[in-house]
Amino acid sequence: MVTTGALGALALADFRERRRRPAYLVVLLGTLALGLLAAPVGDSRWQVFQVSDFHGRYTSGYVGTVTALGGAVWLSLAGFGITRGTIGRDERSGVGQILAATPLSRLAYLAGKFLSNLMVLGSMLLALAGTALAVQLIKGDSDRVDVVRLLLPYVLITLPLLAAVAACAVLFDTVPGLRDGFGALVWFVVWLVGVLGAQAGGGYDLLGMHRITASIREAIAAGGHPADTVEFGVGLTADNRVLGTFDWPGLGPGEAGGLAADAGLLVAVAVALGLVGAMWFHRFDRAAARAGGSLPASRLPWPFRPFRPFRPSDLSRPSRPSRPSRPGEPAPDAGRRPSADSPAFVLDPARMTPARPGGTVLAALVGELRILVQGKRLWWAGALTLALLAAAVPPDGPTHPVLPFAMLWPVLLWSRMGNRADGGSIDDLLAACPSPARRLLAGLLAGVVLALAVAAVPITRLLAAGHTRAVAAALAGVLLVPALALLCGTVTRGPRLFQSLYPMLWYGMINHLAGLDFLGVTPDHGPTPIAVATTAAALTLGALALDSIREATR
């Protein structure tokens, strides 16, 4: 029987481990930036909570609500990215096998993971609440700090939602096929439907929008303004209009009853979701996982097959039965004693072909490209489908409708750039090799080649239709996305940041958010191709600079 204390210790250790990772810092900084965007102190055009033609005075309740809503939207996507993967990490590091030999039950282990996920997200929420308070005090619209109204939306809206996110992260860690990058894409769709549904009339009100908007409408009407036509929305936008103001004290304890009931329901669902994962979790026993009916990872079709880094613990594990890769090929010698006719280490290395220096960028490019695409047959099938679709569909005005989707398809492959997460501890092998900058640039080129491979047909069709500016914009996008992937991978040394960031960027682009239109899908409104290409160059230089700094301080 595991005590509450043991569960807490497990969760706390896991939380500490993740809190010290760069990705945590990146998402935390993003959360704090979001707080400042949601309730800007100066004359920013950016908004996170839109009330058409109006913005509220910075009371504790208003600042608390807009930052809590922004935090809910941001952390349910970016926060999910940094919370999932912890069970896989335990398996890779061997900690899981140690825990499996303790009295800790499956449910207790998953509960610990759920709690630690919640701690990660909760700690960011706490920082966001602190930012909200600071913003209110700095802005000075209202000197009265009402802690209850400031924190109420955090406690009753955002925290329960993040509990659901924490539980889903556990679930995605256990369900075969959702553990890797494909899970990130599935979550993006879930998130999109959830966030859009929360703001639409018919969807489940995850964000408590009905109660908040009704209360704000009353406040606007009390100020003598027509409130019926006022529209609300949550999401990052920029608006140039001069807005009127309204005075809203925020949600008070009297309005908390319904929210508390919803919160309770959401937390109950979250706990159930997290524990459902126990159906697929076999205490790091692969044999049990197979006997339990789920397919072994090696037999799962891509993209359901997780990347499997080499673990030093493999050295002591019996080799799995292997088979020749091709008919007629000699059987691999796993576990075989060397025989007299085929012994190892009997040749004379001095009589081998001399090693001649003079490798080219092309050779490095081929190597990096191979690492990105090797074994991804289904990915190629998808790319071919998109190419055929692009060939069949004509350009829609000065853009091609397939182009954005083609530029989303390689997101998982691009996320492997700038990091060696799927190569285990391969860094030490490469660190002893010359020309790290050349290797990094070869990696970038491999990403660009990949982008060209998926975007070639739409770009060719645009070129044939004479849309040269659209072609230039698309080519600039082809440079930008791999550069972004390279920088994200270099900063965090993992794929998660890009997997979380790029879909958001793509979502902004496809929704014609002018500043984010890196592919030119909104003609004459987005940044120029030169600006996009310059940004790509800046991102590349950033990655190179970071790599150089790491090299100098290794």
Partner: protein, 318 residues
């Protein structure tokens, strides 16, 4: 190899000079402490307990990490400031290394050959030959993710030899190899050491005994001793004893002496005692082995220098 770094020109010789090298990690943990040594072609066996600083030293020598202070000169060039020349000619096999599980052994070696800056044609020929050398030719198309630990270790050895290294650094290279492979690999290192500098770190003293022509013993990040195997054995002469005792007397012996090993015999337990003085009147002097010499060196502070206490002498006087 000579025991310490001294001034003087060594132009024209393949030398690796380690001078007053220190590596301090965050929190003040000193993994390598004022380590000095000059290496020339030959096999240097690096021995030390866990945490002695062997892997940190090897990571510095392979340019994976920088020293906090001190210098490593490869043919006169400081490898911390200009790692390029050494990286073009070093072969490094870390203790734990990763592979891309989707790649085959041939593709993985091809990738690392490109990373090491080898010409394509030369790399291709060497990869074929190295796969033969490590007896993986028949598995060269098998994905690394489907290989056993021992097979991947052999891939690791092959990658370390890709660029025909002048300096070969191998950290626990025999993990996962069977006894026969270990033996042959030792012979391979000995052959390579004829013209190259080979640094071999291992816990298995017998591997070093069979392979190295110099041995460096590390403890607490420092170089405790550096000598030939013969020199180490000479230093242990007169300090190794054998004695047969009742099993019940072992705990007492352990508390008083450094034991080099025990063997069960019909007469009792035959104990190898490492001591400067005869531990008991019945104790017989024994021929030192390299394990004994290493234990005496690495446990120097704990080894008893004073004669055995009277109570012990009494206990031994049966």
């Amino acid at each position: 190899m000579c025991p310490s770094a001294t001034a003087g020109s060594m132009a024209g010789m393949k030398t690796l000079r380690i001078h007053d090298l220190t590596k301090e990690y965050r929190g003040g943990k000193r993994a390598v402490d004022s380590f000095s040594l000059t290496l020339r072609p030959g096999v240097l066996g690096l021995l030390g307990a866990n945490g002695a600083g062997k892997s940190s030293l090897m990571r510095i020598l392979a340019t994976v990490t920088r020293p906090t202070s001190g210098q490593v000169l490869w043919e006169g060039t400081d490898i911390a400031r200009r790692p390029g020349p050494l990286r073009r000619t070093v072969g490094y096999l870390p203790q734990d290394f990763g592979v891309y599980p989707q790649l085959t052994a041939r593709e993985f070696l091809g990738y690392l050959a490109a990373a090491k800056g080898l010409r394509r044609r030369s790399a291709k020929a060497r990869i074929d030959e190295l796969l033969d050398l490590v007896n993986l030719s028949g598995s060269s198309r098998q994905r690394l993710g489907a290989m056993s630990g021992g097979m991947r270790q052999r891939v690791g050895i092959a990658q370390a030899l890709l660029n025909d290294p002048r300096l070969l650094i191998v950290d626990e290279p025999t993990v996962g190899l069977d006894p026969e492979e270990r033996l042959r690999f030792g012979n391979l290192l000995t052959g390579l050491g004829a013209e190259r500098i080979v640094i071999l770190s291992t816990h298995i003293v017998s591997d070093v005994a069979a392979t190295a022509d110099r041995i460096a013993v590390m403890g607490g990040g420092r170089l405790l001793h550096h000598d030939t195997p013969e020199g180490l054995l000479r230093a242990a002469e007169g300090r190794v004893w054998e004695l047969t005792v009742e099993p019940g007397q072992l705990p007492l012996l352990r508390s008083r002496f450094l034991l080099g090993g025990t063997t069960r015999t019909p007469q009792g337990v035959r104990v190898r005692i490492l001591s400067g003085e005869r531990p008991a009147p019945q104790a017989e002097p024994a021929e030192p082995r390299l394990d004994d010499a290493y234990l005496l060196l690495s446990s120097a502070p704990a080894a008893p220098a004073a004669p055995a206490a009277p109570a012990v002498k009494e206990a031994m006087a049966w």
